[in-house]
């Protein structure tokens, strides 16, 4: 159901913008993908990504459609704490900085986060972790595909299935052509487009409406949004922070970058990316507070950002939003496709099915898995299940339960398999229970707290100390081996 009566842009304009950027991304994918014949080149950009590209790809990937749509949505729903709390997602990137450096040192030939959990905690923990990670990745992929279809439909009137199909096809296309190198290169351009667009929209919203007008209208019509003691907002703060940490600590999207960055780059890149990302949700969220002053009807909370931009800027604003959203969706979808494909190939195909597979064979399988993930995502997006956005919130309980197994696994020698397994299982269960009993804004928090308790108890009771050398696995596919 489209609760908005009319689309903001003419469909022809929408098709032209989509066509132009589709051609650009596909060309860049082909251009950057030339010569990526070896497995390490294709899936980890040769492990030679520098600081500028590293920072841009981390930041752009973290600017998802969730940032451009959910930050204004949370500002509209939870006010000041909503947008400030969302910006705390930057803490996850900054806290991952020391982890990225350590991952690169401990596992110089590693491929996935699954590799780490398998070597650190054994096969049971590894398989539980894989279920969590793959479900989360698929949920994120599907939510991105659906968001693309919904947003393109709302902005241009282009039917949902066409918009969703276009964005999935383009992202699969250039990821397939260029591999991880294309993902990182396009992320750099997409990050610039998103930042410039966001600044233009925020500045024009403030200068057009005026901060005094915005403040007085919110105070009169939606007073709780400015209440710093709004209970749900207070509860949301650390929940969102821990959700973000959980997403980043466990997901192969971020681990694959840690493996791909040159030695010494990861820590700096993630710190800079976090600092650059932090203001984005505040800027994006702030525009939502202009709704009462603009006397704008918001039919669905996640449409507030695009609708304010289009109202303030007219057709030009809608085109700008379409470009930004297309960039944000692409930068996340391509990263997810690349990182999830290598997780599937390394942790499921190679470790469970073909342990003797050659690098050349794995390179071909990776390409097929990218296509397969694209098709699977399309099939799950096609019915347009309205509750999938809620499903993503639901995953907060699961991913937050991996924070302590990952962090303690990387830094504490006494962290053991029992603590990690119970942390992921009981943390997830407690998080889900709180999701239904209280609300989505406490699920990750409760999941992380219970998981931490389990891991700490495991460390207190355990007596064995882990030998870090066991993480330095000599895999079948060595860096630089002929493909």
């Amino acid at each position: 159901m489209n609760a908005v009566d009319d689309a903001i842009l003419d469909p022809t304009v929408g098709w032209l913008v989509l066509a132009a950027f589709s051609v650009i991304w596909i060309f860049l994918g082909w251009f950057w993908g030339r010569g990526s014949d070896q497995l390490d080149d294709y899936v980890l950009a040769g492990r030679r990504v520098g600081l500028a590209l590293g920072t841009a790809t981390a930041m752009a990937t973290w600017v998802t459609s969730n940032t451009t749509m959910a930050a204004p949505q949370l500002a509209l729903q939870m006010g000041v704490w909503g947008m400030f709390g969302y910006s705390l997602g930057a803490v996850g990137l900054i806290m991952f900085a020391p982890l990225a450096g350590r991952i690169r040192r401990l596992m110089p030939t590693g491929y996935t986060s699954g590799d780490f959990v398998r070597l650190r905690y054994g096969k049971t923990a590894w398989r539980i972790f894989l279920v969590i990670s793959l479900c989360y990745s698929l949920g994120w992929l599907v939510s991105m595909g659906m968001a693309g279809g919904v947003l393109i439909n709302a902005l241009t009137g282009i039917p949902y299935h066409y918009g969703m199909s276009v964005i999935l096809t383009i992202c699969v296309g250039y990821t397939l052509l260029g591999g991880f190198r294309a993902v990182i290169g396009t992320d750099f351009i997409q990050a610039l487009l998103i930042l410039v667009g966001l600044v233009i929209i925020a500045v024009l919203a403030i200068t057009t409406v005026g901060i005094d007008t915005i403040h007085s209208a919110v105070l009169e019509e939606r007073p709780e949004l400015l209440n710093l003691l709004m209970p749900a907002g207070i509860m949301f703060l650390f929940n969102n922070l821990l959700f973000g940490i959980g997403e980043i600590f466990h997901s192969n999207v971020w681990w694959s970058r840690a493996f791909a960055f040159r030695p010494g780059v990861g820590t700096k890149a993630y710190t800079l990316a976090g600092l650059l990302w932090a203001p984005i949700p505040i800027v994006a969220g702030f525009v939502a507070l202009a709704v009462p002053a603009l006397d704008l009807n918001i039919p669905a909370a996640d449409m507030v950002g695009p609708m304010v931009a289009a109202t303030v800027l007219g057709t030009a604003g809608a085109v700008l939003v379409l470009i930004m959203v297309f960039s944000a969706l692409s930068s996340s979808l391509d990263s997810l496709l690349a990182a999830t494909s290598i997780l599937v190939v390394e942790d499921i195909y190679r470790r469970h099915i073909r342990q003797d597979a050659s690098a050349a064979h794995l390179r071909r399988v990776t390409a097929w898995v990218i296509v397969g993930l694209g098709v699977l995502t399309w099939l799950l997006c096609a019915p347009r299940i309205a509750t999938l956005a809620e499903l993503l919130y639901f995953t907060g309980a699961f991913v937050a339960s991996t924070i302590w197994p990952i962090a303690a696994g990387l830094f504490a020698r006494r962290a053991g398999a029992l603590g990690a397994i119970s942390g992921m299982v009981f943390g997830s269960a407690a998080g889900i229970a709180s999701y239904f009993a209280i609300g989505f804004y406490v699920a990750a928090l409760v999941g992380a707290a219970v998981s931490m308790a389990c891991v700490l108890i495991g460390m207190l009771l355990g007596s064995r100390e882990f030998d870090w050398g066991r993480l330095h696995e000599r895999g079948l596919v060595q860096a630089g081996s002929p493909a």
């Binding site: 509209l76 207070i234 707290a449």
Partner: protein, 147 residues
């Protein structure tokens, strides 16, 4: 066993009220209005409706709609309400032109979580966050990977 006494006196009044209600809402079938939740702990919810014509969505603090204020007029079919303080809020649809009532009223009650509960979750979150930060910071500074 129920007391049959007052019934004869009440029935005519109830019948008159029912007739009055029907008269005041002749278009009860003309539009349907619903909320995605009728009890909110956060002060935000979505109102959705189906109507054949442009509508006016009004909000009031009393069931009689004597203090009604217009939230939206037009052809959209939903409206997001947010930033509401504790209390009961009443909504109904009217025709965009004449103010004719088109839908049954809908009541949403907002009761925020207690501040004590919110601060308890805040404290738990702070403990988990500081502990995680401490684990990483202390372990990073005294890295034992070479041992």
């Amino acid at each position: 066993m129920p007391d049959p006494g007052p019934a004869p006196r009440v029935r005519p009044v109830a019948a008159a009220l029912a007739v009055l209600a029907l008269t005041m809402s002749p278009g009860a079938q003309a539009a349907t209005l619903e909320a995605d939740q009728y009890a909110s702990s956060e002060g935000f919810y979505q109102l959705r409706w189906e109507a054949e014509e442009p509508v006016r969505l009004v909000e009031a603090r009393s069931p009689g709609f004597v203090d009604a204020e217009t939230l939206y007029t037009g052809s959209d079919s939903a409206h997001v309400v947010s930033g509401k303080p504790d209390g009961s809020f009443y909504y109904r649809l009217e025709s965009a032109e004449g103010g004719q009532v088109l839908s049954e009223p809908v009541m949403v009650t907002v009761r925020h979580h207690s501040l004590g509960r919110a601060l308890a979750f805040f404290a738990i979150g702070a403990i988990v966050f500081v502990s995680t930060l401490g684990l990483i910071a202390f372990s990073s500074s005294g890295s034992d990977e070479r041992r």
